[in-house]
Symmetry: C2
Subunit: 240 residues, 2 copies
């Protein structure tokens, strides 16, 4: 059950390319995982595919690798964004992790009228997305945006990007997605208290927003995010 | 955003029926939520539908309610079981919570060759399932079984219950479920390390077991459980 260590790096990858490690990566690879020079890991940067790379320098707080072979082509996330109202810290972390695994191009915390959450730290959530991408074997990392108000997000929305918004309705996801084309799409998940009447009215007025239901029970926001992304991936994404 | 308190009770429900509260429920309702006599909550027991009930007695460690009206008929979970190899405590709790929300009739921790988890406490997981059922508005609670070895579970398996087992394969869930009928079904999720070769061979030999893939990335066990249940519910369950 030995699994290969996979690292996301912000550096070009190519045959013979030397890639420096950040201090936390060097600590993880050499301190925690006890790897040394000559050992092989996998690298990706979201552009150049997945590469094997050999450790050429292993210090306590720094290190370097040399790329060997490209073992997988670059494969980007399908063009679906996940917009969600942040909730409790642990469940927000969970949503970001799951969105990276299931495959989203962008993860956008949006503040709605009934959003009741601590401050969202974009850097921490982005780090979670990187970790999930390293873990799941993909070679892209979703961009996590800074939290923004739902009203402002909708005011600047590109109408060519359709929105699946999860709400109390009788329309199933399949009914909306059947026969539709892939991206650009977005999935919008409300907070635990739901959308306000004003938000709901505004969303229902948008020609590119489609209200959908996720079954007969009331799902928590984190469950709804995973369920909606799954159904989208199955219908229009890279799971087909 | 006032939401009604919903309690699962082990007691018959019916017009005028008096329902005693357990000590933890009395503590929650009167101590934590500050409810008192005359206030109305919702009750369900997994058999008699959902009832409104009025608090008739509110003591520190005990209490009673009187049923008023049946506001929803009994609606049981679709006949799908979730079998999963327990993982870390927090993620195991999460799987149980999500299975109750998404709708499973039974939740079965199964110990596989590569299962690496602390002891599973059935009573704690069952309590999680009750809490999730109270939260999600359904009126059934999935049964959580004691952990059992996968081999023993399969040895006693009723072959009329088909198994969707999530494995590395090229077959999508939709390809297996299209045209199939609803329950009895089960979903089987392996541990983080996957199934052993022997387990995989045994499962693939079972005529009622169908290997399926959940997209091109490697999902964590908790993500896989939610994704597979979602796709099953959409295809054959009560989400259609």
């Amino acid at each position: 059950m030995a699994s290969t260590i996979r690292l996301h790096v912000d550096h070009p990858l190519g045959a013979g390319q030397t890639v420096p490690l950040s201090q936390p990566q060097a600590h993880y690879l050499f301190g925690v995982m006890r790897k040394g020079t000559g050992e092989v890991v996998e690298l990706f940067n979201g552009h150049d595919g997945t590469w094997t790379a050999e450790v050429t320098e292993a210090k306590k707080k720094a290190g370097a690798l040399a790329c060997i072979d490209r073992i997988a082509p670059q494969r980007n996330a399908p063009d679906v964004w996940l917009l969600f109202a942040p909730i409790k810290k642990q469940r927000t972390d969970f949503i970001v992790e799951k969105a990276a695994e299931l495959g989203a191009a962008r993860i956008c915390p949006v503040v709605t009228e009934f959003t009741n959450a601590e401050r969202v730290r974009q850097d921490r959530l982005q780090a979670h997305a990187v970790e999930a991408a390293e873990q799941c074997g993909g070679n892209f990392v979703p961009d996590v945006t800074e939290a923004a108000k739902l009203g402002s997000v909708l005011a600047e929305w590109d109408p060519s990007r359709q929105i699946l918004f999860c709400d109390e309705t009788r329309v199933g996801v399949a009914d909306v997605l059947d026969g539709k084309q892939g991206g650009p799409w977005a999935i919008l998940i409300g907070p635990e208290g739901g959308f306000s009447d004003a938000e709901r009215a505004r969303l229902r007025d948008l020609p590119f927003a489609h209200p959908v239901s996720l079954g007969p029970r009331i799902l928590r926001a984190d469950t709804a995010a995973v369920a909606a992304l799954t159904l989208w991936q199955q219908a229009l994404g890279d799971w087909a």
